[in-house]
Amino acid sequence: MRKFLYAIAAVGLLVSGVAHADAISDRKALMKEKVGASMGVLAKMAKGEMDYDTAAAVAAFQTMNDVTKTFGDLFPAGSETGGDTTASPKIWEDMDGFKAKLAKFGEDTAAAVAAAPADKDAFMPVFGQVAGNCKACHEMYRVQKN
């Protein structure tokens, strides 16, 4: 009986460990492959390395906005560690503050999609408003590990 309980506990630990590892890799993938990649497109247009294109800008803002809808669910209790993560422990100490930053990012990207800036002059302030969210959150909730 005791062995059986140990086995159950071990499986439970393993499953939760795997689940948390999934949360860590999922949230990293979203941030890098969706948000980071979109930011790459937007920043290149802002820097003039790429011609400004309204459709491309709106698509990038929309991709970011989509991420904000699920991103907050990827920080379950227990996923503070257990993988290669640069999430700060402050996220779990202040989950409301973290979610508020995420909500602000959601609002700003939704407003950017709605604005659909017609040209680069209209785009620049909208881009600035959205881009400010990155460091506003990282300042508090991300630690440097490399």
């Binding site: 460091k135 300042e139 440097q144 490399n146």
Partner: protein
């Protein structure tokens, strides 16, 4: 036996005298401080941003005009104790409004207070010592234009041996120098400017260079990063060695300082956010010079 005791007493007195003389705070020569009160406030704003004064001396998280209220703020937790950044606003009672330009220059270049005591090197005068006196005069002129904040200083919380400031005189003999760290061929004005901004006012080495056991910068590992002095995480290696930023171009570094975005469009985080926002306020030519210098650093692998 009596003779031995007498010899020991004499040796102890001699040691105490030597310690006292060696650790005496050294003020600057009057010729250096002659123009300390004749600076230009408009030029001083550039030094204020390069020096990141607000990052520690304004209230934590201050944005916009609140950055200019230097009533003291940050509690810096170090292996030696907790240091509280003092009030450096022009308030005459609680700030530094009663100081002279020469007092300010002695603080910045020598780490010596108007009362003739050593400041703790949590105040990064080990970097500021490399600044030009004219730049400090300009900074002083600018700081006198900032808002008066009436706010009493908090005492540092330090264990007993570190409460005696006199011993810092020995520490300064080891680590206080006005000489540049990285050798640069003369004639390259941009690299020389970049070196000045990084090694002097920018005081990048205070975090990005690892410290030895007694808290001095290990200049043999200049700007190669290390464990974060407070909290968890690491301070990045700025050189081109393994674990560093060798893949970044000069343009990438300058753009990071301007926008906060890395070449992979990851965004600046942690305490570097404040630093980056200060760098963004500098003229583009200053950021380009900093980037050129960083790119020219001797490559060191992360440890």
């Amino acid at each position: 036996m009596k003779r031995l005791a007498a010899a020991l007493v004499i040796m102890a007195i001699a040691a105490a005298v030597i310690f006292w003389v060696l650790t005496m705070p050294q003020r600057l020569d009057a010729t250096v401080t002659a123009n300390a009160d004749a600076g230009d406030a408009a030029r001083g704003e550039r030094m204020f941003n390069a020096g990141g004064c607000a990052s520690c001396h304004a209230a934590k998280g201050a944005k916009g005009d609140d950055r200019l209220k230097l009533g003291g703020g940050l509690a810096l937790e170090t292996p030696f104790g907790t240091f509280h950044a003092p009030n450096i606003s022009p308030d005459r009672q609680t700030g530094i409004g009663a100081w002279s330009g020469a007092d300010f220059m002695n603080a910045m270049l020598r780490g010596v207070s108007p009362e003739g005591e050593h400041f703790y090197p949590a105040f990064p005068y080990t970097s500021y010592a490399r600044m030009q006196p004219e730049d400090i005069a300009d900074l002083w002129a600018y700081m006198k234009t900032l808002p008066v904040v009436e706010q009493a200083n908090l005492d540092h919380q330090l264990p007993l041996p570190f409460r005696m400031r006199r011993g810092l005189g020995l520490w300064k003999m080891l680590f206080l120098s006005d000489q540049p760290v990285v050798a640069i061929a003369s004639g390259d004005d941009q690299l020389v400017l970049g070196r000045y901004l990084v090694e002097g006012p920018g005081h990048c080495g205070e975090c990005h260079t690892p410290r030895n056991l007694i808290g001095g910068p290990d200049t043999s590992r200049w700007l190669s990063g290390g464990p974060a002095p407070e909290g968890n995480g690491k301070i990045p290696n700025l050189t081109a060695g393994a674990g560093g930023i060798g893949s970044w171009s000069v343009k990438d570094i300058a753009y990071y300082l301007e926008s906060g975005f890395t070449p992979e469009f990851d965004a600046v985080g942690g305490t570097m956010v404040e630093v980056q926002e200060n760098m963004a306020r500098l003229p583009a030519s200053d950021r380009d010079a900093i980037a050129a210098y960083v790119k020219a650093l001797p490559a060191l692998d992360s440890q």
